[in-house]
């Protein structure tokens, strides 16, 4: 009995090991690598994409892309009321951190998770590629007539203010005020540029992204003109910007000049016996080789004046050596970090046989990360393949085991 009583006596369980309180660092890592953060980021990206797509009903893709996907913060009012949104830049940066912490560093390592790890590496690579492209890529276009050569390409969207000093021997020196330094100015803001080699400072103000010069009423305006602001074009490359340039010498306002992207040539002026011209031109980049258009070929759909296919036969001239290259829509020219895609053409006249002469338009991209999306896709596909194959083998193995047990029973 006593034994029974003894055996009935409730056993005292060993004390449960108390969890050590988490350090702040661990909590932060927990948060950064959490599923919750991933879900929030992905939901926000979904909302951003949805609203950004809606916004394109009445705004151009370039502007929407800038506001939603290349910004830090944006207030969207496409639904008729303001919605504060975090832009894609911080969201993708946080997604990268979340993926690195939760999907790679803290991921349970083993044979079963190797595919997931590889897929996560691929996604991280894709995000890095996006960052590199966003920060370092340059895009523009080069247009060539048959027989014409060029070693420059021009921006679709950005306009520089350029002061040229003309030398007596026909040469010149161009001082470039880059678009990115002044185009973000707010109302009333002025941006000053100076160089020790110029006898004046240049102050830019009143930048209009899309504008047209109009005669000023009465005696107002600059030399009788005002810059009238226009709604941005839906296709941002059609915007015609304008800005007010003020020459300042010895701290004094010397001359004011209205500049417009479509003006027919520079405004000329003289200072200290030196001759200058000021103009607003599309941003231009020099490439380390030259392209010459031999011929442009366009095939139309039968019976229609609609192009089925068009391509350019060019010569790449470098170090005195010419190489013939055929650029098609799907076969760009890639050379020294520059990619030339066949993007369009213009009809510029007729030759002696009455044939239309075309000018080819090549889209030019300088993107150090242009191969990264492709590589990332291979890596992600490999990771998923490994993961699903392992799942499949495990399933087949367990099925076999189950069938063997069933047969034995």
């Amino acid at each position: 009995m006593s034994q029974t009583e003894t055996s009935a006596k409730p056993r005292t369980l060993p004390p449960r090991p108390t969890k050590a309180p988490k350090s702040v660092g661990t909590r932060i890592l927990d948060f950064l690598g959490s599923y919750a953060l991933a879900m929030v980021i992905l939901t926000m990206l979904l909302v951003l994409t949805f609203l950004g797509t809606l916004e394109q009903r009445h705004r151009g893709i370039f502007d929407v892309q800038k506001d939603y996907f290349e910004s830090f913060f944006h207030v969207c009012d496409t639904l008729g009321f303001p919605i504060p949104l975090i832009g894609a830049v911080p969201l993708l940066a946080l997604l990268f951190v979340n993926l690195t912490v939760g999907g790679m560093i803290r991921l349970r390592k083993g044979r079963g998770t190797i595919g997931i790890l590889v897929a996560h590496l691929g996604i991280a690579l894709l995000l890095i590629g996006s960052l590199v492209e966003h920060s370092l890529s340059t895009n523009g276009n080069m247009s060539l007539r048959p027989g014409e050569t060029s070693n420059t390409f021009r921006s679709y969207y950005d306009w520089d203010v350029v002061v040229t000093e003309f030398a007596k021997d026909g040469s010149g020196e161009r001082y470039v005020m880059p678009h990115e330094r002044y185009a973000d100015m707010s109302d009333g803001e002025r941006v000053t540029f100076q160089s020790e080699r110029l006898p004046f400072d240049l102050v830019l103000s009143g930048y209009q992204r899309n504008s047209v010069p109009r005669r000023a009423p009465g005696a107002g305006g600059i030399d009788g003109y005002l810059l009238q602001e226009l709604e941005p074009e839906e296709k941002a490359e059609y915007n015609r910007p304008g800005v007010l340039a003020t020459l300042v010498a010895d701290g004094q306002r010397d001359e004011q000049i209205l500049l417009w992207g479509m003006q027919t040539g520079p405004h000329l002026f003289e200072r200290e016996g030196r001759q200058f011209g000021i103009d607003m031109v599309r941003k231009e980049w020099v490439i380390p080789f030259t392209l010459k258009l031999d011929r442009f070929v366009k095939d139309d759909h039968p019976g229609l004046a609609m192009a089925r296919e068009y391509s350019s036969y060019v010569q790449k001239i470098e170090d005195g050596t010419a190489q013939s290259i055929h650029i098609t829509m799907n076969e760009p020219l890639r050379h020294r970090g520059h990619i030339f895609y066949q993007s369009g053409y213009d009809d510029i006249g007729r030759d002696r046989n009455g044939e239309i002469i075309y000018r080819t338009v090549l889209a030019v991209s300088v993107n150090p990360a242009d191969k990264i999306p492709e590589i990332s896709c291979y890596v992600i596909a490999l990771g998923l393949l490994i993961h699903f194959l392992m799942k499949l083998f495990r399933y087949i193995k367990s099925e076999n085991r189950r069938q063997r047990h069933a047969a034995a029973a």
Binding site: F31, S34, A36, M39, V40, I41, F72, F73, I86, P90, L94, R145, P146, G147, T164, S171, G172, E173, R174, Y175, V176, M177, R181, G188, E189, T192, F193, Q194, S195, R197, V212, R214, P217, G218, A219, G220, D223, G224, Y225, R253, E255, Q256, W260, M262, Q263, T264, G265, H267, L268, E270, Q275, G277, D279, I348, G349, R350, D351, R352, N353, G354
Partner: protein, 399 residues
Amino acid sequence: MPALFRAPSTLLAAGGALLLVGAALPLAGCGDDGPHPIDDVRKVSKVDPRELLERSHDERFARAFPGGQRTTPPPGMGSGSPKPAPAGWTWTTPEGWKARPKSGMREVSIEVPGEPPADLAVFVLPPSGMLDNVNRWRRQMGLGQVAEAALAGMAYEHRGEKAILVDLRGAYEGSGRKDRFLGLLKMHAGRLLSVKFVGPEDLVTANEQKFHAFLKSLAPQSGGASPHGGSPHGGSAHGGGAPGTPPVGDEGGLKGRLTWDTPAGWASIASASGQRIATFRIDGAPDIEVRINSLKGDGGGLQMIGRMWANMAGQTPPTEEELAALETISVLGREAVIFEFAGKRPVERGGEPVDVLLLGLMCTLDSETLFVRIIGEASAVAPQKAAFLSLCKSLRMKE
């Protein structure tokens, strides 16, 4: 329930943190408003000569108007219309004031020393409303608009003529300091005389008497040069011609001022067209037309003219190298370019292509460009080349 949704506080924390990060990040880039050094300086071995063409503002902004045409400028304003001779003015610069060289539209430019200095400028402008100008000045000073009735209180008499004197206090063009603006507006000989004197309030007030003395001295010029050196209405400093070459084409266009020697066998016919200066027919070649005309500014530029003429002759547009290699001759003291395009005229209405020849001359002057062109069947035009060149070389301004 999945662990994720058992922790709403984590979700809230994640969302809140993201919002904060998103809102704070843009602020990180603010605050850079100092002068920017110009660090992108590029050498150009050969500047396109078209860059050196002096363009009026009308010409520079020609593309702003429908069809790329310039709007008809207000009388006397644009370079396209015959300018009424602007009235010259004389004045006496008060002691202690520093006259500056005339620039842009400023007939007179004077600096009144101070820290910072005050600025006095005189403009002679096309006629426009007094009220518009007063309100424009008020806007510059950060002041509200006034109605027509307010002008009565600004009445002033300047050299026996009615004028308006404006006295404004505010911050000139957002300067952020106390400024004073004294301005005079007066219609004289169909033009608006506008005098503005603006600067720090104390400085302008201290110089108010001198300003009135200056106004009193400001008088229409009776002839002769300004006592302050240089003509108050000097021409452009960037004429297209060689140094010392007299301005050509500046005043009233070439029509009526240009003359030439008509080659033998050619006959001048009436030219009613606006920009056509002369038209010729050639004996025995009725289908050939020779014309002389002019366009404002650069007429579209060498490249555009080359492309247009090449197209007319059924030729491929010239490359920049070909343009640079074109033959030149001296016309009106300037270097003029000769084009020669031989090709087949594009097939029209199913006819056989015809061999055509175009000879053209393009001569860029101070404010306009002169063109001479002959086009027709190559067999008929080719023998006229010598006559064409002799016509071009004989072009001169009437005595």
